[in-house]
Symmetry: C2
Subunit: 424 residues, 2 copies
Amino acid sequence: MVGPHRVVIVGGGFAGLYCAQKLKRARAQITLIDRRNFHLFQPLLYQVASGALSPAEIASPLRVVLSAQKNARVWLGEVVDFDPGAREVILSDGARTGYDTLVVATGSRHHYFGRGEWESRAPGLKTIEDATEIRRRILLAFEKAEREPDPEERRALLTFVIVGGGPTGVELAGALGEIANDTLRNDFRLVRPPEANILLLEGSDRILSAFPPGLSVRAESDLIRLGVRTRTRAVVTELDAKGVTVKLGDRIERIHARTVLWAAGVQASPLGKLLAERTGAHLDRAGRVVVEPDLSIPGYPDIFAIGDLANFSHQLGQPLPGIAPVAMSQGRYVARLVRARLEGRKAPPYRYLDKGTLATIGRSRAVAVIAGLRFAGPLAWLVWLFVHLMYLVEFENRVLVLIRWAYNYFTRNRGARLITGPHD
Amino acid sequence: MVGPHRVVIVGGGFAGLYCAQKLKRARAQITLIDRRNFHLFQPLLYQVASGALSPAEIASPLRVVLSAQKNARVWLGEVVDFDPGAREVILSDGARTGYDTLVVATGSRHHYFGRGEWESRAPGLKTIEDATEIRRRILLAFEKAEREPDPEERRALLTFVIVGGGPTGVELAGALGEIANDTLRNDFRLVRPPEANILLLEGSDRILSAFPPGLSVRAESDLIRLGVRTRTRAVVTELDAKGVTVKLGDRIERIHARTVLWAAGVQASPLGKLLAERTGAHLDRAGRVVVEPDLSIPGYPDIFAIGDLANFSHQLGQPLPGIAPVAMSQGRYVARLVRARLEGRKAPPYRYLDKGTLATIGRSRAVAVIAGLRFAGPLAWLVWLFVHLMYLVEFENRVLVLIRWAYNYFTRNRGARLITGPHD
C-alpha cells in the first residue's frame, strides 16, 4: 500500500472533531469535511438564543482547532453521496475523495412529526442561525408589545410557548423566565416584562424524562419561581401565526401566542438515510443508522456512524441518548479502533461510560445525576458551569464566556441582546 | 402648556444617542426611535468584518443604555414621514407621535454613484449584517481556494479588491493584510494565504486624503508591509461576478477578483430627502440637509438635522466630515440648545472643535493628527486603541474588546471567524 491510511470524517461536531483530534498520533491522513467552518458547542446554544452569549463565543473555527495537527486537513464542503464500492465520498461540487476509513457524524436536526410547515412558525435550536432567529423573535415580541395599543394583542405578544420539555426546552424556558423577570425588568416604559406568560409544553407525563422523577419535580418548581408554567401530557395539534392548539387529555385548549419555539423532536441528518441506502444498513424511526458493537455499519467494517446519527443499542437494549458526552466518547472510540487496526491489534467493542447528566434552570439552579448521586440547586449549578466551561474548545472562548457569565450573574444583564437578520 | 416638552429623536447613532443622553436632566420627555434595537459603534465595524470582534461587542442595546434615564423611552420602529404642520412623525405601521422638538439623525448609507446593481457584488460596510456578509465573503474565498484545482480560478479567489482609500478602506485593507499574513498563515494545507493579492483602489491622488500628505505616504508604506498594494487615481468603470475594470489615467485594467469590497462613497439617509420635501430645506449632492448655524432646518427652529445627515458649512466653508466626533458633538450641542430654550436662555451657534483624526493600519501601526501634531507608528496606534476603547458605550464591551484585542495581539488569531448567513 502506498501513502498513509486515509480517514475521511464527515461532520465537525463533537463526534467528528473528537475523532479527528484523537487520531493526532496515528499514521493516517485525516480529512474532516463540514458544511460550516466551525465547531459549534451546542449545549450552550440556548444562551445565544437568549442573548447571554455571542455566537463566536461558543463556536471555534475547525481550522484553528486542527491547525497544529499536521496529519489533518479541513474541507469546507457538503457531502451529497457515498460510493462504498469505490471507497469514495462525493461532494456537492462533484469532487470525490477516497477513503480507507469513513466516519459519518452528521448529527441531527429538529423534527416536526410530519408537519414541516410548522418550522417557519416555531423555529428549533440547532444552528447559530436558529439561535439568532430565536433571539430576534423573543426581543422583537417585547419591542412590539411596548408599542401595541390593543391589550389582547399585547397579551399574545407577551405569551411565549416552548414545545418540548427535554433539557433544551427546560433551559430555554428558564432563560426566558430570567429575561422577563430580571434582564428586561426596567428597560420598558409601558410593558411590564415580568407579566409575560411563559408556557412549557411536554407530551409525556413529566419534563426532563431522562432524569429521575424527583429531579423533574424540582425542575418544575424552579421553573415556576421564574414564572414559567409547565403543562405535561400536552400535545400540539395545530400551530399557526396566531398561536397553538393543544390537546390536554380530553380537553382542547387554544393559546394565543406570537412566539412559539420548538424543542420537541429530533431526526437524524438525511445523510443517514443515504448511507443506509448505499450499504443496506437499517434505520430506526428517528432516521438513525443501526450500528454494530464497534459502531461500524453491518458488512462494512471500515465505515462508521457515530454521535446523534447512530443507533447503538448493544449496551442498554435501547439507543444511547443523543447528547454531547456520547458523541465525544464514540468519536474517541473510533479513533482508538483505527489506531489499533493500523498497529495490527484488536479493540474491544464500544461501551459508553455514563459520567452523569446535567440540566440548568436559570441563575444558580440546576439538576444533576452524577455517579448515581442525584442533586439540585446551587451545587449542581456550579458543576454545570464548570463542566461546560471545561469542554469549550478554545481557551480564549473559556475566558470570554467566564467573563460574560460573571457579568450576567452580577448585573442580571445579557450583553448580546441584538435583533439582527432580515428586516421585519 | 400641559406636560413636559416632547423631544423626538430619530436615529440612535452617535448623534441621536448623545443628544438623548445629554438631555438627561432636561424637563423633557424624550422618545428615541430607531429601526434597530442597538447603538452600533461603527468605527470598529471593520473589525467585525475581519473576524476580530463579535457583533455584540460593538453594539449596545439602546434600552440598556437609556434604561436608567427615566425621561427617555425607546421605540423600535421605522419613521416613514414627517408632518411639520401637525408637528408629528409617522411610523411605518401608521402610528403617529407628536413632538415639540424634532431631531433627525438617521446617518448615511454607502453609495454606488448611480450603479445600484454593484451593491450585491461589492458590499459596503455600514451595518452588522454588512460586516458579517463581508466576513463571510473573505473567509469563504480562502476556503474555496483550498479546494480549487484550477490555478487561475484560485488566483481570482485569492484576489481582494477594496474600492475607496478613506479610513474605512484603509482599515479594511490593513485587516485583510493581517488575515492573510498572520491569522490564516498556518491554517491551510494547500493555499498559502500570504500569497493573497490585496488591492486598495482610490480615485483621488492619495489615500486618506483628509490627513496631511506625509501621513498618506506613511499609511501607504505601512500597507505595503502588510502585502497591500495601493492604486491611486483609479476609477472603477465596471464591476461584475468575475472582477473589476479600472481606469488608471489613460489605461484600462481588468482585475480578476472574486471578492470586491466597497468603501468609496456615502449618501445621506433617504429621510433627509423627505425632510427637505416637507420643509423646503436644501439638499447637497450627497443628500445631506443644509442646516442653519444652530443645526436647525431653515424656517423650522424646532427641527434639527445632525450627524452624517447634516451639511453644516458655516464653520469651514465646506461641510464637516461625516465622522463620529462630529456626530457626538452635534448631538450634545442640540441637547444644550434645547435645555437653554427650556430655561429661556440663548445659546451660541454650533462650532465643531476638532480634537484630532486617527486611522489604524493593522497591528501597532496608525496615523494621527491631534491638536495639530502629526504622528504615526506604535504611539499613534496606542492613542487609537485608547480612544476607541473609551468611547465604547458599555463598560462590559470595553472589557470584552480589550481582552479580545490582547488575545488577537499576542496570538495573531481572530476569534470571531465564523462563516454565517445564507447557505452558499
